[in-house]
Amino acid sequence: MGERRRIDDRFPRLATDGYEITSQPDDTYNCVAWVARDLRRWWHPGDIDGFYWPDELGEGDSLTDYIAVFGYLGFSACSDGALVPGVEKIAVYGRDDEFDHVAFQRTDGSWSSKLGELSDIRHPYDHSLSGSGPFEYKPVVLYMQRARLPHQLAETGLILP
């Protein structure tokens, strides 16, 4: 099954809204690592060998624990996902203190997501990944922001060969 088909099947709203695949599927890093621009490690709390989590943080896996890691990366809570020049925002998805996903905002206002072990994608709307389908992510529950750091990956994602 092709990558687009696998994504479309899981995220019907995304399929309707449109998106661009910006990398090959890769199981070496996940959405949290993508926000940290760490393409070598799967960021995940808990005592699981092969996963990475900053030593300074606890091993809990609640939404609160994930928000803590985004704080560790320099993000703080903000009111919305509106584009602000010089500011990088992230959208945190979850519900009932359960973390589901995180996407970061590109300089053009669109969003970039690493979909688990699937690809990175660029999607126009942060809410395109959420819905009531069995695989769709829970809604955005928090926006966070930090000063935008200049680096190539933030703008382009990993370009397909």
Partner: protein, 177 residues
């Protein structure tokens, strides 16, 4: 001496026993719980959740030495339950991978029914997990192994690749794969 079949020749058919010819079949009838596990990597299964095919060359590759005649193996009491179990394990594993393919946070995966079903298979599931560490959903199987085994062969590994390789070395050393 085990007679050899051509590559891909079917020795056992789905659902009912079917001899490929007037030859004996070597099967892992050992009660050593690890014996069946090793054989499973070479089984092919059809979509009817029964059992499907074994090639003689695969049997020889594994060095199976217990010769079972077709008639003996056709006996229901000899038909290994683990064949069906393993088919189920493969199907459950496929479903578990499918359900979590797009997940970055995997804690929930260990609470899903599929995970619990795999855990109940014991050594078979460990072999299966180690085999799937060669695939494209390694984080999921690293999670599985970390929860279901007490050994920590990948202690200190910070990358999926390093941990997967450490686990597979461990699996070979313990003859799971």
């Amino acid at each position: 001496m085990i007679p050899m079949a051509q590559e891909g020749e079917l020795l056992v058919g789905s659902g009912s026993f079917r001899s490929a010819g007037p030859i004996g079949l070597t099967m892992p009838v050992s009660r050593d719980p690890r014996g069946p596990d090793r054989s499973l990597l070479w089984m092919a299964y059809d979509s009817h959740a029964t059992w499907a095919a074994v090639t003689l060359n695969a049997a020889q590759a594994f060095g199976w030495t217990t010769t079972v005649t077709t008639r003996e193996y056709a006996d229901a009491s000899e038909r290994p339950v683990y064949l069906v179990d393993q088919f189920a394990a493969e199907a459950v594993a496929d479903g578990w991978e499918r359900d979590n393919l797009h997940r970055s946070a995997l804690a929930n995966a260990a609470r899903q029914p599929a995970f619990q079903r795999l855990v109940k298979l014991g050594g078979s599931a460990i072999s299966l997990a180690l085999k799937r560490l060669g695939g494209s959903q390694r984080p999921l199987w690293l999670l599985f192994l970390s929860v279901t085994t007490t050994d920590r062969p990948a202690a200190g590994a910070e990358t999926v690749e390093d941990a997967a390789e450490a686990w597979r070395r461990w699996g070979r050393r313990h003859r799971y794969i």
